[in-house]
Symmetry: C2
Subunit: 342 residues, 2 copies
């Protein structure tokens, strides 16, 4: 790597409203920053694009909002290309919280080493064995606590997290119903991923179809969407049902706060539990996931897709697919080439 | 008791809309029914009036809606005045699911014996040691799981359940904040019941007052109200906070389903849990409550009030107080005299 490498980076210049990302993010170029004492520099190979990024742009949540006129925050997987850190050397593969940028400087606190599991492409650690997989794995099992034979419903089921949730639930012996937009996605869920049923929420009569797909009601709902879809599932929740509340993508770009479900009080009559969670809390338990999911992924028992776009300059176009239903599987941008691996 | 006793009973003739209870309930008279084989007859002494009764009138929930043109369902405490049941004799005191009526016939399945705890008036078993007390006790401790030093907020705090919740939380070493309507109720909470703070949601600037009363945020929220009050508390919920969802009285008489909280997604960023519960599920565990709460009640450590109206014929007028904030403490109607107790 040349010492005078160029760092392209997306700068957040204003808070987005209604999804106008191209108006509030601007691609700048400058010489790549140098790591200080105890720091190292990561060259981004893959940049993860996630719905929650839209929240980070807008307001303080579980993380502070990204400050205006600074580089947009993002999960990256990359290779160390300069290091003043005693435990990290040039060529190491790491992933963690970086920027929408060619390079990130870190002291290592928000980064971890990418485990070397033979037979798995690097990009798997952006998806099924990365934050995406951890969100599905811990959200479903630790919050939803499905039991064999129960009915699990997941919304945004053809998305990166949703498609994993459904497959894990199948491996745990559940009846799995996915909700997704459009016949192609639904066909993928039942045809390729083994879901028991898929409901196209863009189709006429989808509420009835959902009810028909859940003849014994819903024991676990993995909530990614909110809005009308969330309400429809809530209507079917069983006594002692559990809602693992991962997010509400239908609301992230709304310009006004959106009302919650009109039927929320059903939690009382069904003695049901709705519980939010954040994947970041599970960092200390990632080993559990590698242990159980690693063999599933390597053995092809869990299928996954990365929808990989090329080039940092195309990040905004790619990101917008998350909110228009344009992607299937985990969305990421390839920013630079993978190094040769031994 | 004469064999030709008269049974007055309130008949539900239509589903109420917007709280028009006097238009859908009609007081009828007929000869009192006779118990069949294995059954006994309960003469109502106290009839419990509870917000959930409005739900029973309207639609199927955790119990089927009361059928039209039948006697309105209600919790009663009474004395057995005729019995063909081998284990129950005339003069026994019982409580359970009866009707808004002078008499209830039962096979005993929905009734239990009133325990004889010396020094406690009978009416206590309609309130702090009845379903009201159980709702507060199990909802707070089993669902809310407060820890010493945590902040507990309860809405409808001057109500029957709310006033118990706050006092139990104080006994468990929590900081307790009550939300109630009007300065008198608030003064009662802090002056008589020992709440650390009370917020009058009818006063100007109540949201700010609530925030000021919870400088360390909210760890447990006992939700009785819903609507704007619920939203305001949700905004303050701490990481890993718990919402014991008892009911949403602000919505029971709405003619349209009301939207849920606009800030429901805060459950995700705060990793918080909202869980509904029904006191009926705790019937097998009532002994735990008698054991811990009995001494508190008998020893005056928990204060309670029964707002006792007189006469079955006044039931509707009395019931409406629940929705206008007209009662303080547990609301009940005395239908007939207590028998002399030994």
């Amino acid at each position: 790597m040349s010492a005078t490498a160029t760092n392209r980076h997306w700068v957040l210049t204003d808070r987005p409203k209604g999804g106008n990302f191209e108006q509030v993010l601007s691609l700048r170029e400058e010489p790549a920053p140098e790591p200080g004492p105890g720091e190292y520099r990561v060259r981004t190979i893959y940049l993860s694009l996630d719905p929650t990024n839209a929240v980070w742009m807008q307001y303080d949540s579980y993380l502070p909002a990204v400050p205006l006129n600074s580089t947009m925050r993002g999960l990256v997987l990359g290779v160390v290309d300069k290091s003043n850190h005693e435990k990290v050397k040039v060529g190491d593969l790491v992933s963690g919280m970086g920027g929408w940028a060619d390079y990130t400087i870190t002291d290592g606190k928000n980064f971890g080493r990418v485990p070397n599991i033979p037979g798995l492409p690097l990009v798997a650690f952006m998806g099924p064995l990365g934050m995406t997989g951890a969100t599905a794995y811990f959200g479903l099992l630790d919050i939803g606590k499905p039991k064999e034979g129960e009915t699990v419903v997941v919304s945004a089921a053809a998305g990166a997290v949703g498609s994993m949730v459904g497959q894990i639930a199948k491996l745990k012996g559940c009846r799995v119903v996915g909700i997704a937009g459009g016949p192609e996605k639904c066909a993928w869920l039942t045809g390729e991923l083994g879901f028991d049923a898929a409901v196209d929420y863009k189709a006429e009569g989808w509420r009835k179809a959902l009810r028909a797909a859940c003849p014994k009601g819903v024991d676990v709902y993995f909530e990614n969407v909110g809005g009308e879809v969330g309400e429809a599932v809530l209507d079917l929740i069983n006594i002692k049902g559990r809602i693992a509340f991962c997010g509400a993508i239908s609301q992230y770009n709304a310009t006004q706060p959106q009302p919650g479900p009109r039927n929320l009080s059903i939690l009382v009559s069904r003695r049901a539990r709705m519980e939010g969670f954040l994947v970041l809390d599970y960092n200390p338990r990632l080993g559990e996931m590698y242990q159980e999911m690693g063999p599933w992924i390597a053995g092809g028992k869990v299928k996954w897709k990365v929808d990989l776009d090329q080039g940092l300059e195309n990040t905004i176009t790619s990101f917008k697919k998350l909110f228009t239903g344009g992607n299937t599987g985990k969305l990421a941008v390839q920013v630079s080439e993978e190094p040769a691996r031994g």
